[in-house]
Amino acid sequence: MDHNEPTDQAANGVALEAISLPRREAEAIAAVVDSLVAPGPTLSGTRRRELATAARQALGDEAIHQSTDAELRLAVTMASAAHTIRPGDVERVLAAGLEPTTYVEILSLVARLVAVDTVHFGLGLDPIQLPQPVAGTPSGWVDAKAAIDGGWLPTVGPAAPPNALSLLPGEHQAMHDLHGALYLSVEEMADTDATRGLHRTQMELVAARTSLLNECFF
């Protein structure tokens, strides 16, 4: 389907066209989509796709919140109400048998999926279709240096935005790749006068308002 086809009409009949993605952003989003259906560090491609699909339904389907599948409920909560997660919730799911590695992996795929879905929605593009899952064995790629350090899950170094997924090196790199494509790389963030379609102050206005709406106070 041509993503540049007008998808909306204004009241006065003027077409409200979608905005197509430049190459860098399109490639970054394609990489996310491919990773969501491929084996991860602990989960199969099939399972990752199931969880991603459930996370998408979170907003419109109340029944999914009552699922008996703990991983699925976690994915749904992370997608629709991450700000409600408390230390006790994390303790409970881990005590019930969820591995910290799987928790972090679910978080990685849900967070990146919400990001790319938001970009598509904002630009008036067609919703992303998740491909069929890719066969293969989970990699088991975990950073043994990660430990609990100020957060609820292990990180390499004190828990902070740049290392939130550092327990899983592949997911950590995938997050940074997307972060750099959509916003700024960690290195570029030092430039308070950067311009990339918007001036840095305008980008931060969008970032701050997004965070407020998500009830995230960092």
Binding site: A82, R86, R112, V114, A159, T201, E204, L212
Partner: protein, 109 residues
């Protein structure tokens, strides 16, 4: 980062616009950016197209692209920080207080 970036680049900004979009932030296309962000985060199909049109008309397609991309990026980052339990920085606590926001106890530094 908003206040830091504004100060270092000599821009005047009213941070109250973050919590009340009817306040003029002082930034070019500020109102349009906030309306676009609200529609994108609220997944409001009814207002998304119009918000995008207004932003493109005011600031151009590249601005709208970056607005969507930044909103998407912070959708990701907000979830990472909330689900890992990253505590709020002291500077953010101060800003929250200035804006009349209450940070949950479990996120205090």
């Amino acid at each position: 980062m908003l206040r830091v970036s504004a100060r270092r680049t000599g821009r005047t900004i009213d941070l109250r616009a973050i919590v009340d979009p009817s306040v003029d932030s002082g930034l070019a296309a500020g109102g349009e950016l906030l309306a676009f962000t609200d529609a994108a985060i609220d997944q409001d199909a009814g207002s998304m197209a119009e918000a995008r049109r207004r932003l493109v008309e005011t600031a151009g397609e590249e601005a709208a692209l970056r607005a969507a991309a930044v909103a998407g990026n912070f959708q990701m980052m907000n979830r990472l920080l909330d689900a890992i339990g990253v505590r709020v920085r002291r500077s953010s606590m101060k800003l929250a207080e200035e804006l009349g926001l209450s940070v949950p106890d479990h996120l205090h530094p």
